[in-house]
């Protein structure tokens, strides 16, 4: 086999390896695209609330409806104190959510939010949310978890209602319970 063939082969092997790496690069790329486009309703992380900068828009109300669900393998009870709220954009609101671990083992849960419609993702800001971290519950324990949010006043006018859904998953196996920090690890 001659030199030029060897050069070709070397280049092609690099291409193949590069594409394999590209596949893994698609993971953060995909997250980036989701953030940019609101695909899949992934809401952003914690929002810093500065009352001086927020102006409340009294001229309109937006309905926010909450949906709580537990994954099939997750035996916890999970509910919100209200089915929904009517808010003014720019106002800070608090809604309490509750979880109960009815089993006889220590368990760790993770709530995953999803917002509909997807385009509202950029305008829904949470300053405090149990979904930011995993929740450790002792056997039989019930926890109250406040969620604080603001619907941004830049929310397009034609959007009059939002649906915020939380799915609760059992992540006990993914977490090292011996570390006290388990509850404080960011998701």
């Amino acid at each position: 086999m001659n030199q030029s063939s060897l050069r070709t082969v070397r280049k092609l092997i690099m291409l193949a390896l590069g594409m394999f790496g590209f596949a893994f690069a698609l993971v953060p790329l995909y997250d980036l695209l989701c953030e940019l486009t609101g695909l899949n309703g992934k809401t952003a992380g914690a929002y810093v609330y500065d009352p001086a900068r927020e102006s409340v828009d009294e001229t309109r109300t937006v309905r926010v409806i909450f949906i709580t669900n537990t994954n099939a393998d997750m035996p916890w009870k999970f509910w919100s104190e209200k089915g929904g709220v009517e808010v003014h954009p720019g106002e800070l609101h608090t809604v309490n959510f509750f979880v109960t671990n009815p089993t006889d083992k220590v368990m760790v849960g993770q709530a995953v939010p999803s917002l509909a419609p997807g385009l509202a993702v950029d305008y829904f800001h949470k300053t405090e949310c149990f979904c930011f971290e995993r929740q450790v519950l002792q056997p039989g324990e019930t926890m109250e978890m406040p969620m604080r949010f603001i619907v941004g006043s830049e929310l397009p006018g034609h959007v009059a209602s939002l649906n915020l859904s939380y799915s609760l998953f059992d992540v006990t196996d993914f977490v090292d319970l011996s570390t006290e920090d388990a509850a404080n690890n960011p998701s």
Binding site: N40, G41, R63, I65, I67, N69, T70, N71, A72, D73, M74, P75, K77, K82, G83, G84, V85, E86, P102, T103, D104, V112, S114, L115, A116, P117, G118, P139, G140, H158, V159, A160, S161, N163, S165, S167, D170, T172, D173
Partner: protein, 382 residues
Amino acid sequence: MNKHCTGIRRLRTAAGVMSMLASGLVAADELNMRVGVTDISRQVYDLHMLILWICVVIGAVVFGAMFWSIIHHRRSAGYQAAHFHENTRLEIAWTIVPTLILIAMCIPATRVLVAMYDTGGEDMTVEVRGYQWKWQYKYLDEDFDRTFSFFSTLTTPIEERHNLSAKGEHYLLEVDEPLRIPVNKKVRFLVTSEDVIHAWWVPDFGIKRDAVPGMLNELWAIVPEPGVYRGQCTELCGKDHGFMPVVVEVMPQADFDAWYASKLVAEQERQQLESMVFTHEELMTQGEAVYTKFCASCHQPNGQGVPPVFPSLVGSKVATGPRDDHIRLVLNGVTGTSMQAFSGQLSKAELAAVVHFERHSWGNNTDDLTQPVDVANAAASN
């Protein structure tokens, strides 16, 4: 009769046959996509027909030319081959013309898609949740006292599916409780899944969306005609993917309101049941119904399951052992297996009944009763 007249006649006959075929094709509901009952479904149907006709015409011209060539340019007929093998102007022409046709198609296609994405201004919202292998419908409202949910499961009897009895008209498309929505209201569907990816499709509404775990997908419909509309799950989701139909009943507003009120009452009654006490016979009857709907697809009607994936309940340690352990297993599921936590799916009364049923069937004969309050206690005491 001179050649010209014969030719014209032939052409007329051909045109007549073609138009009969064409109208037959268009009219034959069995062959074509249905028009559906919503404005969106009709727009989709019209778009489908437009593209189909464009393809048919292009196909007729292109294949026509080809078959003409096959007939006339054959060696056996003595035809001599020409030698040309390129023509740049022709290449440009048959690149540009298809491009223009495609651009023309894009315009109505874009219009219909934009119309479908207009999800605002809804009158009510329903969460559609896919499970292996059934749908759950949750009516959402800010006021908790006005929400409720139920499961929608296939009811076609196993005898029909195993060819032991004649199949009904709605074979594989019938459920115990359909989704009910009011006529002429904009209903928003939030589609998601409990486990794997499913898809929710109602052909008559022209809407389909994947049900993805951890994600809410939006769909909407305004249905102007009352009736019962049937669809199916359209994403492979496991063994019973073909057996989780979608049935939507569209009702006049007054009927819907009455039904909604009755569901709220039933929901309250359901919650009161929790404190009641039942006889063995009542528990067995209710238990069998729950078992058939929620458990039999895996553990089988005869309780023998499909070991090792779906364990047998006949003489099993769980079904004949301590009652509270049995209750807790059904409540909490078994992580890492297909055994789901049924605390979210069954009321205390239903759970008590099915546990009782399992402990007294197929030769199992424990001497305990299971009441709704036992379920509540077992859940609390863990």
